[in-house]
């Protein structure tokens, strides 16, 4: 395969471009996604290429345009609404949770709702309490939705293309810090990545580090430093929360005997709790130490960097957690 380096945003844009060209049922809508190209540049050039009928600027009416997208999906289209900031998902909650997620079930299977909601997540930009939150666990709590949390340009493109071929509602989380800062190899050739398949980002044998979305990157950096200490850490990226590849997580922990789960969503009733429960059940006999959960601190996201960075797990916190596990094992 011939590779080139793309940013996370370029990979998203390329997936949209290819799928818009493939399937005329697909259309993009959201706030400033059209001529402006999206506040994070993910739709740059698409308006010029596909026109105002398919790359549609909406009023600031999240409930309205997501509701419209649900109805368009039920009648044969594949809408791709963008929620500029994941925090705004609250404004469209009824349409996502009570309508999109349940329509197929409540009608006894009469309809499909192929809608792909692209939404950002992640703090670290001094954007304050209403532009920094990560609500993937909320979405993963709802039966009927599929939830995607890619960490690399390669995964983002392959998973978004899969989402755009899905007959089900998908909530696709993109960490906005990664848009321009994370670059990676992406093949020129066509490819997709199936949902429900975790990716082992680094193989290891002493401890399993399970990281969500952007947290994969400080986790890989921590694994590199741990290697210098002679500790072999395995880094696993679930890539999708629904469906969840339980098997890969459990097998890894069965091999290593220890697990740290790293996420930018809240710990309390969050993704780290669910994954810890999955591992505790599936790999109970193999655990040498309690599972470590590193989620965002359970406070509203603060503005000042000194405070904000204290709420988000980082490389140092991951290394400390690994040491706690290994120390526990020696006891």
């Amino acid at each position: 395969m011939s590779m080139r380096e793309l940013t996370f945003a370029q990979a998203i844009r390329e997936a949209l471009d290819e799928e818009l060209a493939r399937d005329e049922r697909i259309f993009v809508l959201g706030e400033d996604v059209g001529a402006w190209g999206g506040v994070f540049r993910c739709t740059e050039g698409l308006f010029q290429k596909y026109g105002a009928e398919r790359i549609i600027d909406t009023p600031l009416s999240e409930e309205g345009y997501i509701g419209l997208a649900v109805g368009a999906a039920m009648t044969g289209m594949h809408p791709v609404p963008e929620l500029m900031f994941g925090d705004f998902i609250t404004l469209a909650m009824d349409q996502i949770v009570n309508q999109a997620a349940k329509m197929r079930y409540m009608t006894g299977g009469q309809v499909q709702v192929p809608i792909t909601i692209r939404v950002t997540m992640g703090g670290g930009r001094s954007s304050g309490g209403q532009h920094s939150q990560s609500w993937h666990a909320w979405m993963a709590h709802v039966p009927g939705l599929k939830v995607v949390v890619p960490s690399t340009p390669y995964d983002a493109k392959g998973l978004l293309k899969t989402a755009l071929r899905e007959p089900n509602p998908v909530v696709f989380f993109e960490d906005k810090v990664m848009y321009s800062k994370i670059k990676g190899p992406v093949p020129e050739e066509e490819y997709t990545i199936p949902f429900g398949k975790a990716d082992v980002k680094r193989e290891g044998k002493d401890v399993s580090l399970i990281a969500i979305s952007r947290m994969v990157h400080p986790t890989l950096a921590a694994a590199e430093k741990l290697a210098a200490e002679g500790i072999s850490a395995e880094v696993i990226d679930p890539r999708t929360l629904t469906p969840l590849d339980e098997e890969t997580l459990i097998k890894s922990v069965a091999k290593t005997g220890g697990a740290v789960i790293i996420d930018e969503g809240y710990n309390h009733f969050g993704t780290t709790a669910e994954l810890a429960a999955t591992i505790a059940y599936g790999a109970f006999d193999f655990l040498d130490a309690p599972i470590e959960r590193l989620g965002a601190m359970d406070v509203p996201i603060p503005f000042s960097p000194q405070l904000e960075f204290a709420t988000i797990p980082d490389e140092a916190a991951i290394i400390l957690a690994v040491h706690r596990i290994l120390d526990g094992r020696r006891r």
Partner: protein, 330 residues
Amino acid sequence: MPARKTQTAILPLPPDELRELYRKMLTIRIFEETVFDVYRKGLMPGLAHLSDGQEATPVGVCAALRLDDTITSTHRGHGHIIAKGGQVEPMMAEVMGKVTGYCRGKGGEMHIADVSLGILGANGIVGGGIGIAAGSAFTAKREGKGRVSVAFFGDGAINQGILYETANIAVLWKLPLIYVCENNQYTEFTNYHKLTSGEGLVARAKAMGMNALEVDGNDVLAVYQAAHEMVEAARKGKGPATLVCQTFRYGGHHVGEPGTAYRSKEEITEWKARDPIPAFEKILLNHKVIAPSDIETMHDQIHTQLQEAVATAQEAPFPEVKEVGEHVYA
């Protein structure tokens, strides 16, 4: 008072279609009475939200629609579904939680849908179906076949945000979307005047640049004529419209309460004197579209049909528990 009444000198539809409207109104009335009976006898789980008294609005609106037009409905949706062509047998089975129901017993009386008839579902969230209706209108415009979408909602939804969010979009994008407000005067247990500021939905819709009209929602032909004009304009690409139909529900908010604690006897009596079914009967008899014996025959036929629907649903199995995990994902 309602702004517009039927001019009955010339009837707007041919006799067979008028008889069909009458049959549908009667079917809704008897369906709702039968559901109440089914509830009282303990033959259904949960509660039901009945629309007897409101028959003219859904029947008048749906008379203006084609098979491929779509509707979204409300928690009080049985009338809309029958008016759009829904069959009473799978409806009754759904009400009773049986696997032979429209939604295999997974939806219940508040969530009946028949997508093949353009019924995109009743909805348990007040205003919840309005977004779906806007989306169907979006698809219709894209298809370019003159199809329209109707959002039925009650006076409660007048104050839901999604109504205005989609209305703004529908006007901007000229979507073929008809907003039909069935104002039965009471938002659950409170008169809508106490909950709604200003001059009401017609004024609000007009302020957004939308054609809007209020009609006597108990006058099926007035409803039909207004809906027909709006629907045909929407088919021609002239964009959305709002139709407010003033009507009244005879029963309570649901079958578990009679609706008498918060509505006066006088008010109920006054509305019952304007019952949509005898009013339409009178017009049909005057124009000799129907004979008194036809009315009797039709009444008996529908009554028998409903009794058979209940008996069949009673004999039908409940869904098997193994089905509980099906239809979550496609």
